[in-house]
């Protein structure tokens, strides 16, 4: 029996330099370097700092991936890279590196969509995706609800955030509460001691006339800040745990309600979660509860694979190779706002 193709994947759309190796649906290596610590004091990812870090980390991260997988560069059958969406300067480091490896190894190159890669990564843990599936992708950079009839060729956007990404709202609320950046993990921890029903924060875009599958987190973020400031002005202590739990509840409630509704309206019984916010414990718990109630099979990759990494790009590359999709043209570049309908280019 002939081995399935070995795919090398590059991810540099934000602050993580990821290099992954995948054979078929088998994860062989997932090497990661991150510049997150360098962004902390700025309260958000600084694109130029991220881009410089990608360049420094690139070759060492490739070496680590090859060593972890126990393969040589010459064994690689295809190269995949995130071509967008993301930060242009950061994306270009990965695109240039992937193009150079593809040229040096004389192998086909696949420029892929970062969001579709977040869906593909689940195949490494739970096997072939049920198609169609609904995917809910939430991170510091994106909040999207997708319909996935065919992950290699046909992905549709059902809705997306009209302002902040869900992860950004976590970062901003964490700042208001004096918690560290990135805000997801500390809010999740603080919320465990709090009452999610303590404060009734608004659920954005959930009115009868609102777009059913779009998200808005800006109003929620402002409502939290206003609530906290009112306490501070009155000289009262801020109940951090209750604010964190109530904010987190509002986010998880909206995300899961819309995802389940999308499954129902499109007659789809599989939901995939992805993105850094999918590591949030309340979002996972509420998604499980509501999917179980609605007869939907929920698939959530491990937290390590939910956040950005190279394995997800290799996983989508592997899928594209298996589906016989044509490789990218030699003049592949980066597109910071690559639409989700473009799975590969």
């Amino acid at each position: 029996m002939v081995d399935e193709p070995l795919v090398l994947g590059f991810e540099t759309s934000c602050d993580e330099t990821g290099v992954g190796l995948v054979r078929g649906h088998t994860l062989l290596a997932d090497a990661l370097a991150t510049s997150m610590a360098e962004h902390e004091r700025f309260g958000g990812v600084v694109p130029e700092i991220a881009s410089r870090a990608h360049l420094e980390a690139m070759v060492p991260t490739v070496h680590r991936a090859l060593a972890d997988a126990g393969v040589r560069a010459a064994d690689v059958d295809a190269v995949a890279v995130t071509s967008g969406p993301g930060l242009t300067g950061a994306l270009l480091v990965g695109v240039a590196a992937a193009k150079a490896y593809a040229l040096a190894l004389d192998r086909p190159l696949y420029g892929v969509n970062h969001l579709a890669a977040h869906v593909a990564v689940d195949e490494l843990q739970h096997g072939p995706l049920a198609e169609p599936s609904i995917a809910l992708l939430v991170s510091g950079g994106h909040s999207s609800l997708l319909l996935v009839p065919d992950l290699a060729r046909d992905v549709e956007s059902l809705g997306r955030t009209i302002d902040d990404a869900a992860g950004e709202a976590f970062d901003k609320v964490a700042r208001v509460l004096g918690l560290p950046f990135p805000g997801g993990p500390p809010i999740d921890r603080a919320a465990r001691e709090g009452d999610p029903a303590a404060i009734g924060f608004p659920r954005g875009l959930t009115g009868p006339r609102d777009a059913p599958f779009d998200f808005s987190f800006s109003g929620l973020k402002t409502a939290v800040a206003r609530w906290v400031e009112a306490r501070q002005r009155a000289g009262e202590p801020v109940p951090v745990a209750n604010v964190a739990a109530s904010f987190q509840e509002a986010v998880a409630d909206v995300l899961t309600a819309k995802a389940v509704r999308a499954c129902r309206e499109h007659g789809v019984d599989h939901l995939v979660l992805g993105g850094g916010v999918a590591a949030n414990s309340r979002l996972r718990a509420l998604a499980e509860e509501r999917c179980a109630g609605a007869g939907i099979v929920l698939r959530v990759p491990s937290p390590r694979l939910c956040t950005d990494n190279g394995a997800m790009v290799a996983a989508l590359g592997s899928r594209l190779v298996a589906a016989g999709v044509a490789p990218s043209a030699p003049d592949l570049g980066a597109d910071s706002s690559l639409p989700i309908e473009v799975v590969s280019r």
Binding site: R41, F42, G43, V46, E48, I49, S51, R52, H54, L55, E56, M58, V59, V62, H63, A73, T88, G89, L92, V93, V95, A96, A97, K99, A100, Y101, A102, L103, A104, L105, D106, R175, V176, T222, A225, R226, E229, A230, R233, P330, D331, L332, G333, A334
Partner: protein, 216 residues
């Protein structure tokens, strides 16, 4: 020894192939200078394929990679540097970095290139080609070193002196890389000459979203 030379420090990307010999001889076999603007990432690997095709050679013939480390606009500059680093890594070749300004013009000169934000990158050279001063970044009006100037002629007015147009060349890159090519184990790591810090300031305090007085 066949050397691949790359540079993306200016709006014209360069890919070249040359034979280099230990006595300092440089014979350029093929060269493509592509006015690629901000499309370096798209067009660099195609340009590498093109010069290999022009010379009737293939990548396994190449024995070393030389790349311009800038200074230059960061995003484009990194495309060349990361391409050189990864291409060399994948083929097990030495990668040698040089100051891109060293590869523009010859002899006694001051090189000026576009640093954006109304500034120039500059460096000054002796008749022998040795760099005397720079690289630096400054407003052309404040540049105190003498000419003759070569490089980006659009700065002539602001320098108050003529600028002879000149670009990075394959021969220039190989000349600048000579010592490192002779002893590749001594080659410095490929770190771009950024000359500027990233634009970023830490936030001072959380900005209130509400005004001090209660809203009506």
């Amino acid at each position: 020894m066949l050397v691949l030379a790359l540079d993306t420090a200016t709006p014209t990307l360069l890919a070249g192939l040359a034979r280099w010999s230990a006595d300092g001889g440089v014979e350029v076999l093929a060269e493509r200078a592509v006015p690629s603007g901000t499309r370096h990432a798209e067009l660099l690997t195609p340009a590498i394929r093109d010069v290999l095709g022009d010379a009737g050679l293939s990548l396994p013939d190449v024995r070393a990679v030389v790349v311009g480390l800038g200074p230059g606009p960061f995003t484009g500059l990194r495309v060349g540097v990361v391409t050189a680093a990864t291409l060399a890594d994948a083929r097990g070749l030495p990668a040698v970095g040089v100051c891109s300004l060293d590869a523009i013009g010859t002899g006694a000169r001051t090189v000026v290139t576009d640093a954006r934000r109304k500034e120039v990158y500059w460096a000054r050279y002796a008749e022998s080609g040795a760099r005397l001063d720079g690289p630096g970044v400054t407003r052309p009006e404040e540049l105190t070193v003498a000419g003759p100037f070569v490089g980006d002629p659009r700065f002539a007015d602001r320098l108050g002196a003529p600028v002879t147009p000149a670009d990075v060349t394959t021969a220039g890159l190989l000349r600048a890389a000579g010592a490192q090519l002779a002893g590749p184990t001594t080659a410095a790591p490929l770190v771009p000459l950024y000359l500027r810090r990233p634009d970023a300031t830490p936030p001072t305090a959380v900005k209130p979203v509400t005004r001090a007085e209660p809203r009506p």
